[in-house]
């Protein structure tokens, strides 16, 4: 059991923002939840799966975000309550279906939670999902604290049912992955039965067919829903104001930026001068509420992440109502008061507020600040992200890198999203040369592989992870085979969606609920499509490199090399050493060797360090996980491994 369901109504608990969203969905009586893993959203589906049994939930990790949204939609169409969860890039994947869903409307309460990642803390983009709400004309809610993350999620289901429209709840990393106290509400006893009605009047929202056509009629209906949402939002308790009746400056904000703004006002002691208007309903904005607050001041600052979404929408309302509320001076992203990229924090708001209000603020004594900065430069060497000790990707990229060097024709690798993204840097021997969305390495390679007619003779490789293979690589592979593109796809199969915490994917024999399910074999899919398929263990360095060189030489079309080894952090490998490894100090001759400290300088495993005093390589017992691969890279054979019985 879990503290997300054990605790009674009124209990106060410390929970992550994502857990608060889970509790909100449970209090709303969610029936079906789906999603695709992606930081910072993954804990929502994970936690729901842990508590699925008693309230009779159906929870699944879907193959990608578009299918996840379609799976959840079926529940809504059947009058159940449905939740679909994804990170910001996932919304792009799901957006084609979302466009049509917004047109067709929904039945049972349907909430889409998107967790955006301003500042790209664990992404290779800082894409905005909020603009989809405006683009596709659907309501958008943004919780401003942990309690709201719960309460708003619950309310979003009611709102969706009232409007017969999907409702978006947008979180951000600092909300989803931060924790705070919340007070629980009641879990419902109601049980819903699934029934899909389709034989009433075709245009009837409850009993007709569910389609986005006739477009003219449906689009009007859709906009009527947005007008209704706007009216509801005028009185919504998630839009709050704190501050003086007539502030010098009105600060309008949403989401985690509300907490930063409140902190900044407190740090500057500006509570008497700044009014804080937190918007929980950020699309559509309620015009009367905005007019009321805008009319009480001349200066307005908007604080949000990442793009000026709220800012632009507030400005439109202010322009429309200018005759009534007067002309305002705006501070925000467009005038450069607030940065237009990256995530916000209290200090950026402090800087913006202190400049507009004319307050001097120095966070630490100047001398201390100087000393601390100098210490970092002198004594805190930069710590770049690296593949974990025992990671199969380090071995895979070592072989790919070496095979391409040996081939010596400027061959290169197109990559995509996963831990293996890090192969763009030194931990993966700088092997990746393009990096975009899920599956795009294979798609881009498919295009590169057709450039021979323009004189390109470089070998073309792509890599993808196992979960990514199912998510978005299969169409690219079909494309490459059908169009006779000459490429080698390396599937880094580490037995799970490793980067986001080992969520199961269609290649495994169990699902998120722990049930036995039919695994779908990557090799057989590739063979079925018509590719040549080889399988290697990445820890077999020599065999892998030989196979790679052979595949690169083979110009017959699409070749797939599946590198199969579980992630070092996976349940099957974690805390289990295959080998005990040590450096034989009588054999390692350090700088004398001529290898140029090959093991530590090039291979770069955190468990294999350089002892500067002894001038020899050394195993860090606390870090080493005993994969034993390094024993094969020492030219002297000084690294010894013994199998653990």
């Amino acid at each position: 059991m879990s503290y997300l369901t054990d605790e009674k109504e009124g209990a106060s608990c410390l929970v992550m923002g994502n857990e608060a969203i889970v509790r909100g969905a449970l209090e709303a009586g969610v029936n079906v939840a789906s999603g695709y893993p992606g930081t910072p959203s993954s804990e929502i589906i994970e936690n729901l799966s842990k508590v699925a049994k008693e309230p009779n939930l159906y929870v699944e990790w879907s193959v990608n975000e578009k299918v996840a949204l379609e799976v959840a939609a079926a529940a809504s169409f059947s009058r159940l309550r449905a939740l679909c969860v994804m990170k910001q890039n996932g919304v792009n994947v799901a957006s084609d279906f979302l466009l049509h869903l917004a047109g067709s409307g929904t039945r049972g309460g349907f909430v889409m939670v998107t967790c955006d990642d301003p500042g790209a803390l664990s992404s290779v983009n800082e894409g905005e999902s909020r603009f989809f709400a405006r683009l596709l004309e659907i309501p958008l809610l943004e919780p401003g604290n942990f309690q709201e993350a719960k309460d708003m999620t619950k309310w979003a289901f009611d709102l969706s049912e009232e409007l017969r429209q999907i409702v978006v709840v947008r979180s951000v990393t600092r909300m989803s992955h931060a924790s705070g106290n919340i007070t629980y509400g009641r879990l419902p006893a109601e049980k819903r039965r699934a029934e899909f009605r389709f034989d009433g009047f075709a245009l009837d929202p409850d009993e007709g067919i569910i389609i986005s056509a006739p477009v003219a009629w449906k689009h009007q209906q859709q906009q009527e829903k947005i007008r209704k949402a706007r009216e509801i939002f005028e009185g919504c308790p998630f839009n709050t104001y704190e501050g003086p009746e007539r502030p010098d400056l009105l600060l309008i904000t949403s989401s985690a930026c509300y907490l930063y703004s409140r902190e900044a006002v407190n740090v500057l002691g500006a509570e008497d001068r700044v009014g804080l208007l937190k918007m929980g309903t950020t699309w559509p904005l309620p015009p009367k509420l905005l007019a009321k607050h805008l009319s009480r001041t001349d200066k307005v600052m908007i604080v949000e992440e990442v793009l000026p979404f709220l800012e632009e929408n507030v400005k439109i309302l202010a322009a429309e109502q200018a005759a009534e509320i007067g002309v305002k001076t705006f501070y925000g992203k467009n005038d450069g008061t607030i940065p237009m990229t990256g995530e916000m924090n209290p200090d950026l708001v402090i800087a913006a507020l202190s400049s507009v209000l004319g307050i001097d603020y120095v966070p630490v004594p100047e001398e201390y600040g100087r000393e601390a900065q100098a210490s970092v430069i002198a004594r805190a060497p930069n710590r770049e992200q690296v593949f974990c000790p025992g990671c199969p990707h380090r071995a895979s990229f070592f072989s790919i890198h070496n095979a391409l060097e040996m081939d010596n024709r400027q061959g290169f690798v197109c990559g995509d999203i996963g831990c293996y993204t890090m192969a763009i840097g030194s931990t993966g021997f700088n092997t990746l040369k393009t990096l975009h969305s899920m599956g795009s390495g294979a798609g881009i390679a498919s295009g590169f592989g057709k450039l021979g007619q323009f004189g390109m003779d470089q070998p073309i490789l792509a890599v993808c992870g196992d979960s990514t293979f199912y998510h978005a690589v299969i169409p690219a592979l079909v494309n490459a085979v059908h169009n006779r593109s000459n490429i080698t796809l390396v599937v880094l199969d580490n037995s799970g969606t490793a980067m986001t915490g080992f969520q199961p994917h269609p290649g495994l024999d169990h699902n998120v609920l722990g049930e036995a399910v039919p695994p779908i074999d990557i090799a057989r899919i590739c063979e079925g499509i018509g590719a040549r398929v080889e399988i290697r263990d990445p820890f077999d360095l020599e065999g892998t490199r030989e196979t790679l060189n052979e595949l690169i030489e083979d110009t017959s079309g699409v070749k797939v090399l599946i590198m199969r080894k579980a992630c070092a952090l996976s349940p099957q490998r974690k805390n289990k050493k295959d080998y005990t490894v040590h450096v034989d100090e009588t054999i390692c001759i350090g700088e004398e060797c001529g290898c140029g400290r090959f093991c530590t300088r090039i291979f770069g495993c955190p468990g294999l360090i350089w002892n500067a005093e002894k001038q020899k390589a050394e195993i860090d017992e606390v870090i080493c996980v005993g994969c034993g691969v390094c024993a094969d890279i020492c030219p002297q054979g000084a690294i010894k491994r013994e199998e653990v019985a």
């Binding site: 630490v364 900065q373 690296v386 870090i623």
Partner: protein, 206 residues
């Protein structure tokens, strides 16, 4: 909530280290100890990439009044707990101030650039000198080495939590640790964790 008067409200703790050292677990356990005592606690943490050997940080905001931002403003840390010594220097450059207290695990984890020979890692004496200069009080604890003696290096984080509770600014101790841990940890792992916690308290007396 609670009548306890914090030395400062909000009181700001930063727990830092390297991905894989149990940073997140340590911050959750300590925060739950405070929640049981009736405080509002906000934790801000960066993970996702945290298992990948990078620097990680949890910001813990403790208040008797309300929820604060998941990010501590610059220069406003009251105590910094570090599971890896140079990470303390990095954190102080952002969040330190002349009144800050620092608790440092002495065991180094070398960054990739150091292992490769591109960067150099300071000596423990240099680290101590820097941290003493940048703090009002600094403690140095051989947490990983002691944890290895207990049979599991990961317990270094719990030793540091024990040490943090012994600083004395916050009204939490062994009983709160046991209660907080029992919420998430299987009973068979409890004894080792309590031993580690007690050891952390003990090492602060030396």
């Amino acid at each position: 909530m609670t009548a306890y008067r914090l030395p400062k409200d909000p009181y700001n703790i930063i727990i830092t280290g390297v991905g894989g050292q149990g940073n997140v677990m340590a911050s959750r356990v300590f925060s739950n100890m405070l929640v049981q005592k009736g405080f509002f606690v906000t934790i801000g943490e960066t993970f996702g990439a945290s298992q990948r050997g990078g620097s990680v940080m949890s910001h813990i905001r403790v208040s008797s009044k309300s929820t604060w931002s998941p990010q501590v403003p610059k220069g406003k840390a009251d105590v910094v707990v570090t599971l890896e010594p140079i990470e303390a220097i990095r954190v102080l450059a952002g969040y330190g101030n002349p009144a800050v207290k620092v608790l440092t695990n002495t065991r180094a984890i070398y960054p990739a650039g150091v292992i490769a020979g591109r960067l150099s890692y300071p000596s423990l004496d240099e680290i101590k000198e820097t941290l003493k200069k940048l703090s009002a009080r600094a403690w140095f604890i051989d947490a990983t080495d002691e944890a290895v003696k207990l049979g599991n290096a990961i317990l270094g984080n719990i030793i540091m939590i024990g040490a943090l509770s012994a600083v004395g600014d916050l009204p939490v101790g062994r009983g709160d640790f046991e209660a907080a841990l029992s919420r998430t940890l299987p009973a068979e792992k409890m004894a080792d964790n309590l031993t580690a916690f007690d050891l952390g308290v003990e090492l602060m007396k030396q």
